[in-house]
């Protein structure tokens, strides 16, 4: 792994640590209070705060996972670095698309 990828992976990991904790806390809060999907969506709808929060989460997770997948491919598959990098970029973009879809559904639906 190169210096740049290492810094990006560590930085996104550091960013995700508090995001994961808040995410889990929110899940506990929602289930503990017996909230339905409709209850949750009524609170998140139109919220810039939740859009930013989960948007950031999706971006960090996509970058982090793509770098990790690139490492796995370069070490465990016969793919050359460049092709592994291309595959990882594609995988990261797929995660961004799936995550963005979920965030839009949470905030704009």
């Amino acid at each position: 792994m190169t210096m740049r990828l290492y810094v990006w992976q560590r930085a996104t990991a550091a960013l995700m640590a508090p995001l994961v904790l808040v995410h889990i806390a929110v899940i506990f809060y929602a289930t503990h209070n017996g909230m339905t999907a409709a209850d949750i969506l009524s609170r998140t709808h139109g919220s810039i705060m939740w859009a930013s929060y989960y948007g950031l989460f999706v971006a960090a997770a996509s970058i982090h996972a793509a770098i990790g997948v690139r490492n796995v491919l370069t070490e465990w598959s016969p793919l050359a670095d460049r092709r592994a990098g291309s595959f990882a970029v594609g995988f990261g973009l797929l995660l961004v698309a799936l995550g963005a879809r979920a965030v839009f559904a949470l905030v704009l639906s």
């Binding site: 792994m1 190169t2 210096m3 740049r4 990828l5 290492y6 810094v7 560590r10 370069t74 070490e75 465990w76 670095d81």
Partner: protein, 240 residues
């Protein structure tokens, strides 16, 4: 104590097979004693490498019952409780013949990691005073006893998966020099170990520190390099 050991030795080059020999078991017998017995009394064509026999030269490392070890200071009683020994060449290095590996890739990576002291003064200048208890000197001292045996390199999963990876010994040497106040190769060395195959490829599996015969901790040294290179990168001293 068992009267005889059943000893399987790797015979051949990359392609080869294990052949089994019967070797008398003795008190305080080392794995190197066993290999030497086979060569001197059973098959003189057996190839293996050793020099000092006392754990200083680092030339006799082999794979013993699945783990890389310095054979001259590995007692049979410690690793062959069942009376069986399987001894092969070191992993992750090309096999020349039988138990002898080609160490060239190992030492080439020392060069790539710039594991060579870069003097900061000439012989005409005064010798620099270094306090043995200074923080930097303590870090440099931590790995100064490396004997280049290649055990950590053979034990490393990352070396197995990534042929460009410098390996624990080369990076530990680089860390020692990074902390040597007399050395002038600092930034260039950090640049070398931050690139492809450098310290950021390490997965911290810690096989190196578990099996190092000198009880050194290459994982900690590599973690130090990760921190130091990251700081240098963020300050713009080295490039990605």
């Amino acid at each position: 104590m068992l009267a005889e050991l059943s000893v399987s030795l790797w015979r051949g080059g990359k392609e080869g097979r294990y052949e089994t020999y019967r070797v008398p078991q003795r008190a305080s017998q080392t794995v190197l004693d066993v290999v030497t017995f086979v060569q001197r009394h059973i098959d003189p064509t057996l190839s293996y490498r050793f020099a000092c026999r006392v754990g200083v030269c680092g030339s006799c490392a082999m794979t013993v019952n699945g783990k890389p070890r310095w054979t001259c200071r590995t007692h049979v009683a410690k690793v062959a409780g069942s009376g069986r020994l399987e001894i092969g060449p070191l992993e992750n290095l090309p096999v020349i013949k039988d138990l002898t590996t080609d160490m060239q890739p190992f030492f080439e990576k020392w060069q790539k990691a710039q594991g060579v002291f870069a003097p900061s003064k000439t012989r005409h200048e005064e010798i620099e005073q270094i306090r043995p208890d200074s923080a930097a000197r303590r870090l440099a001292d931590a790995a100064i006893e490396c004997i280049n045996c290649g055990v950590c390199y053979a034990a490393c999963d990352t070396v197995r998966w990534n042929e460009d990876y410098f390996g624990p010994a080369a990076l530990t040497r680089a860390w020692t020099l990074v902390n040597d106040e007399r050395d002038a190769g600092g930034t260039a060395r950090l640049q070398a170990v931050a690139g492809a195959g450098g310290c950021h490829s390490c997965h911290s599996h810690q096989s190196c520190q578990e099996l190092c015969p000198q009880a050194l901790n290459p994982t900690a040294a590599i973690a130090g390099l990760k921190r130091r290179t990251t700081a240098a990168y963020l300050k713009g001293e080295i490039k990605a």
